[in-house]
């Protein structure tokens, strides 16, 4: 058993799982789990523990979100890293990936309203040095996030008692 892999899988499913519980699940002692997790935090494997929020359930407080595909023009002394940094430094940008294919970066942005997102694109993003073009698509509904289905529909029906 690869203990790190197992620990990560358990934490990914529920970051609140106690070290004592993890130790019991993996048939090892708490100290080992403490050490492994401590080491993975230090090595930057575990970056942070955060809650998965179903923003739809927030009703009107739910933020607007959009995915934006960005084409950029890296130069010799002004590469992807530099452009990426200029983009991700904006707090509206929640994630940023370098992609293969038709465009270079894919980002997800969040703001109070769609209007604010539009403004962010034309006022801040599109005019950045190195950004050639952007294509914004607004997110309408989230079904699944990080492997978790957000709005579980019909409960499955099982017999209450079976052998």
């Amino acid at each position: 058993m690869d203990i790190r892999k197992e620990i990560l899988a358990i934490l990914k499913d529920d970051a609140l799982t106690t070290h004592a519980m993890i130790a019991r699940m993996l048939d090892t002692d708490e100290k080992t789990v403490d050490e492994e997790i401590g080491a993975m935090e230090k090595e930057g494997i575990i970056v942070k523990y955060e809650a998965l929020i179903n923003s739809e359930a927030l009703g009107d407080d739910a933020p607007a979100e959009a995915m934006i595909e960005i084409k950029v023009e890296p130069k010799l002394n002004f590469g992807y890293e530099d452009i990426a940094r200029r983009i991700y430094e904006f707090p509206e940008v929640k994630s940023l990936y370098l992609m293969s294919g038709r465009y270079d970066f894919s980002i997800r942005v969040e703001a109070k309203t769609m209007k604010e997102i539009s403004k962010f694109v034309w006022e801040k993003l599109a005019i950045l040095e190195g950004v050639k073009s952007t294509e914004t698509t607004f997110l309408m509904r989230k079904y699944k996030e990080n492997g978790t289905v957000l709005n579980k529909g019909n409960e499955q029906k099982r017999l209450v008692v079976s052998p």
Binding site: A9, D14, M21, R24, M25, L159, V160, V161, S162, P163
Partner: protein
């Protein structure tokens, strides 16, 4: 007409399942948390469901060969060998309507009236009635908490007579969650050789073990073992009714004879789904199963630790999805405990006695339900047991 009198005595003499009684009560109550379910709470993985849909769309709506499709049997061969180091050829296999049918066939194919069949107790509810329907004599081998609910050599030998023909080896065990160690397996194999017994190994929970890999009693013992397994538990496929038996060819042929006249074949769409289940997991290094296991494991640990915290001795199960705590400290019988817990606190568990007389003092709690449900069930059990002290 006196209908009752007309029913065959081998049938009328068998008591209806003890589990059934609880079903009727639990069904009437509202907001029951059920820990009495013997099937996974997961829905069959989507890739498997999709493959059955495809099969139906392609018009695969006919009988298959009696033994099962060549593809599923060749996948089972590969699966058993790479996963459990157990080696049977496709022509030593029979695909059945659930492990249940495979068990029934094995008993009917081997038992002559009066033949004795050793069955660990407590155990799954079907073995004893199936043996009785086949006109055999079920003989319990008592297993105890102190022995980790494993059949011990001495206890097995005590039960053997000249009439003993078969030993049922059902591990990982329902309801205790016990598994066999390598030494246990060697003991059982030695006894089977010494007394010329046939082993019927029900290993339907083989994929569900925690912290230890399952070892099959059929490993290196293929020529004396009818290995029974299925898709219900490992792939969350209870409703598909798909299982199989693998064993010495003459035994499988005898079972096939019954199967071809009484069942013809397992449903083709289920077999196609089974093919996908096996090939996908083999290709993906069993990752889908691993994910289910992780989720079961957490619930298992939580339940064991909870019962211990409440002052009950609780054997640490290493397999299946059941916890089998000893509730004698409550001062109640298993049946009283379960009945009151159900009627007063709306938590359904199964009394150990449903799995054999020596299940008295224990209850079976299935953790094939969500972690949140289990947490709530434990809160209710805590309130209930609090009133008993």
């Amino acid at each position: 007409m006196n209908y009752e009198k007309l029913i065959a005595s081998s049938v009328s003499s068998v008591e209806p399942s003890g589990i059934r009684k609880f079903f009727d009560i639990a069904n009437e109550l509202k907001d029951v948390i059920s820990m009495s379910v013997g099937e996974p709470d997961f829905v069959t993985p989507w890739n498997i469901r999709q493959s059955a849909i495809n099969s139906i769309q392609m018009g695969e709506t006919h009988y298959t060969s009696n033994s099962g499709t060549p593809r599923i049997r060749s996948l089972i061969k590969q699966y058993l060998s790479e996963r459990f180091n157990v080696h049977y050829e496709p022509d030593q296999m029979l695909v059945t309507v659930g492990a249940s049918e495979a068990l029934d066939l094995a008993f009917r194919a081997l038992i002559d009236p009066g033949d004795e069949v050793l069955i660990p107790a407590p155990s799954y509810v079907s073995y004893e009635p199936s043996v009785l329907f086949a006109h055999g004599v079920p003989v319990p081998i008592v297993t105890r908490e102190e022995d980790d609910f494993v059949i011990r050599k001495e206890n097995i030998e005590k039960t053997i007579t000249e009439k003993t023909k078969i030993i049922v080896v059902p591990y990982p065990n329902n309801p205790t969650g016990a598994i066999l160690s390598e030494e246990d397996i060697i003991d059982i194999q030695e006894i089977a050789l010494k007394y010329d017994l046939i082993v019927i190994a029900d290993e339907i929970y083989a994929e569900l073990t925690y912290g230890r890999r399952h070892r099959s009693v059929a490993e290196g013992f293929e020529d004396r073992t009818i290995l029974i397994n299925g898709f219900s538990k490992a792939f969350a496929m209870t409703g598909w009714r798909l299982g199989y038996a693998a064993g010495p060819k003459p035994f499988i042929n005898a079972m096939l004879k019954i199967h071809q006249y009484t069942m013809l074949c397992a449903p083709i769409m289920s077999q196609r789904a089974g093919e996908e289940a096996l090939s996908n997991e083999m290709n993906k290094d069993y990752s889908q199963i691993a994910e289910m296991l992780r989720s079961y494991n957490k619930r298992r640990v939580f339940l064991v630790d909870s019962f211990r915290r409440l002052g009950y001795s609780c054997y640490e199960p290493r397999g299946a999805f059941y916890v089998f705590p000893n509730i004698t400290a409550s001062g109640l019988t298993s049946e009283e405990f379960c009945k009151r817990l159900l009627l007063e606190y709306h938590v359904a568990c199964v009394p150990g006695t449903a799995f054999g007389k020596n299940g008295e003092g224990f209850i079976r709690c299935s953790y094939a339900t969500s972690y949140e449900n289990i947490q709530e069930a434990v809160r209710r059990i805590e309130r209930f047991t609090g009133t008993l002290k």
